[in-house]
């Protein structure tokens, strides 16, 4: 009885090794000409099956909601469902790496934002936007410096004035290595203050930061309309300044940082990416679908309700936009050292 058991085992393992040895060779033998033709056909037929869009964050966050919503509208124009899959973790690089290494056939896409640059500059991964084919920018979410209503400051300028006179007394929460870490450094630089005047404390994500601020364990953090509006309406929190070119329609009374003499405007810019080497024809089809989705008034209204601006940029413009963005982050990254 033991013998037969052993035999089966040996057979299985041999099969496994055989399979692992043979399979790749068999694939490589395919003829190049036939392949080219097949590729052209694949572009023409695309999409033949559901498309997977990877969201590198947990469900429920702003990135998750925005992409799930937009995909619902975009898939109507593609004729195949877009299935959103959450792959959170490691400053969003679990998801981005999955897409980076996926087949460049247009069936695996990434929905992400500036974090691709910050994960690179904070040393989590060794690749940034250049590892992908950017398809289009869809939205920009301006960030807002926020504090608790019980604290005396009414603008970011006032807060920074006090920080300058008492370095290290004011506690500012941030997620190290993520976008808001770069944002606060950028604000400090634009205001011309040393980066050490604020006591930076690390929290994972915006939610825990708001909780800590509500409990008055910290003095401030970067938030946005969707995450903090409820607390501002209730009188628990107040906005100190919008990091954007103009005031936001939902909060017309809150001055921009520029109005306060801090020349810093930056948003979280969400866009769609494909693995490097995805055929141009397929990218064009996806771009078209998202463009139509972003023109849909219903979709637009839903996004604006969340305090996010619709900011569609097609592939060519987006590539240039990302180049500029990388330069900005490069400058900020120098400050972190």
């Amino acid at each position: 009885m033991r013998k037969s058991l052993l035999m089966v085992l040996v057979a299985v393992i041999c099969l496994a090794l055989l399979a692992s040895g043979c399979a790749p060779e068999a694939q490589e033998e395919a003829k190049p000409q036939a392949e080219e033709k097949a590729a052209e056909e694949a572009v023409a037929k695309y999409p033949e099956r559901p498309i997977q869009l990877v969201i590198p964050y947990k469900p429920g966050g702003a990135t998750d909601i925005i992409f799930r919503l937009v995909c619902k509208y975009a898939e109507k124009h593609l004729g195949q469902p877009i299935v959103c899959v959450n792959m959170p973790g490691a400053t969003s690089t679990v998801g981005s790496r999955h897409v980076k290494e996926a087949r460049p056939d247009g069936y695996t896409l990434l929905g992400s934002h500036d974090v691709i640059a910050t994960a690179f500059y904070s040393g989590v991964v060794d690749y940034a936007f250049e590892a992908f084919e950017p398809i289009c920018l869809i939205t920009s979410t301006p960030n807002i410096a926020t504090t608790h209503s019980d604290y005396p400051w009414n603008t970011m300028k006032e807060l920074l004035e006090e920080a300058k006179s008492k370095p290290g007394e004011i506690v500012w929460s941030t997620t190290f290595g993520s976008t808001d870490h770069f944002f606060i450094l950028g604000i400090l630089e634009a205001a011309g203050v040393s980066k050490d005047v604020l006591r930076l404390v690390g929290y994972e994500g915006t939610g825990p930061q708001l909780t800590a601020l509500l409990g008055k364990h910290t003095h401030g953090c970067m938030a946005n309309v969707a995450s903090a509006m409820g607390h501002v309406e209730a009188g628990d929190l107040k906005f100190l300044g919008v990091a954007w070119e103009s005031r936001l329609p939902q909060i017309p009374d809150v001055p921009t940082l520029k109005e306060q003499g801090i020349d810093f405007a930056h948003a979280t810019n969400r866009g769609v990416f494909a693995p490097k080497g995805t055929p141009e024809g397929i990218l064009k089809k996806i771009e078209e679908a998202f463009r139509k989705a972003m023109e849909d008034p219903e979709c637009k209204a839903k996004i604006e309700e969340m305090g996010t601006l619709v900011n569609f940029k097609p592939r060519e413009e987006y590539v240039k936009f990302l180049d500029e963005l990388m330069k900005k982050y490069d400058k900020l990254a120098q400050m972190m050292k």
Binding site: L9, L17, S20
Partner: protein
């Protein structure tokens, strides 16, 4: 159960080696930041110290107990009767464990190559056969279960969860 003390010492030594290796590795971690006085290395070190201390305690107590009872007296055993039978069944269980781990290893190894469907069906049939009393009249049932489970899981994941299990050479 006879060799419990000996194996305790082995466990303690393995853990101590792990602790030593990891502790050495903590020196490669970045230094503490300006406000973050503990830094990335402090917590792992605290945990490693606790684990190391506990392993030492286990090592010392197991060695001490081993010296106290140098000859393997049946005192260590929960009960005297049926011990030979017990050790035989223990050995059979260990063999079974090795079999299952080997099968799992082979199965996981071939999924990326052959794809989920082509590797799961033989795994399910083979594993069932090995665990079963090996009567041919059971075989059809096993095959039906293997094929049905594999196909249903494959379909449900692709259709409803957007998870495409590796398709391997079936693509």
């Amino acid at each position: 159960m006879v060799k419990t003390r000996k194996w305790d010492a082995v466990l303690a030594v393995v853990m101590l080696l792990l602790v030593a290796f990891m502790y050495w590795h903590t020196y490669a971690l970045p230094q503490a930041g300006k406000w973050d006085r503990l830094g990335p290395a402090a917590w792992p070190r605290m945990v490693l110290m606790v684990l190391g201390l506990l392993s030492l305690i286990l090592l010392v107590t197991s060695l001490a107990a081993g010296r106290a009872q140098p000859s393997r007296q049946p005192k260590e055993r929960p009960s005297g009767e049926g011990s030979t039978q017990e050790s035989r069944s223990n050995r059979a269980k260990a063999r079974l464990a090795v079999t299952i781990f080997a099968l799992m290893f082979a199965y996981i190894l071939i999924i990326p190559k052959l794809g989920f469907v082509l590797s799961s069906i033989p795994f399910l049939v083979g594993c069932q056969w090995i665990l079963s009393p090996r009567q041919t009249r059971l075989l059809p049932g096993m095959v039906v279960l293997a094929v049905a489970l594999t196909l249903v899981v494959n379909y449900v994941f692709a259709r409803y969860l957007g998870v495409y299990l590796p398709s391997g050479i079936l693509r």
